[in-house]
Subunit: 126 residues, 2 copies
């Protein structure tokens, strides 16, 4: 199920006008699961704590329950973990992503691939 180079599929899930899940939020969940805190996840993803917190806040309000649970910390600050619901959402999201990527081996995708140049032509001087 590898996605063809040259074909990019962005999967977003909306809750009314809010983006409940997308590539960036899914990566943030993975990072929170690894790092054990929102601040740690923000750091490894190269985003501000505020931005990470806002993304978590949107996720937590869009699904049937919170995807990230925070708890008061020790001396080194609070911690966070991905909830069971968050793990389930992430798993379905990754599975759907993989399914979409698998579609890029269909005839239409192959036809498009064959018609694409490896690099754009230079712009002609006017």
């Amino acid at each position: 199920m590898t996605q063809r180079p040259g074909i990019k599929i962005k999967l977003q899930l909306y809750c009314a006008d809010a983006i409940a899940m997308g590539p960036g939020k899914a990566d943030l969940l993975d990072a929170i699961a690894r790092e054990g805190s929102i601040s740690g996840a923000a750091r490894v993803m190269g985003m501000s704590y505020r931005r990470a917190w806002l993304l978590v806040d949107v996720m937590n309000r869009c699904w049937s329950g919170p995807l990230v649970e925070t708890f008061p910390g020790s001396a080194r600050g609070g911690g966070a973990k991905v909830s069971a619901l968050g793990e389930a959402v992430l798993q379905h999201y990754r599975a759907l992503q993989a399914r979409l990527a698998g579609d890029t081996s269909c005839d239409d995708a192959r036809a498009l691939d064959a018609l694409l140049r490896d690099a754009p032509l230079e712009r002609q001087p006017e």
Copy 2:
């Protein structure tokens, strides 16, 4: 093959770092086919002529041949049409889009749908 509300799939085709085809460029091609000119297409799409011209220019340099052919105009300015190659690319792109949209009736998509709220919870006062 209707796409579920709440699930948005954005399909982009890259030629090196340039976006050779995506939702906006496909819509622009449709508009050029209908309007018969880049300026007319820009108008109905609510974008500047310059922006439409730049999008056409990228498309024309990314594929094995131009997707849009322009020709010198009469008193009312030049015209443009979608080439046979442009029509073929557009057709494959739309077919692939429809195929991806069809994937949103799989179990993972249904599971995600069932877990999404209809609207985000209000943000709690701190």
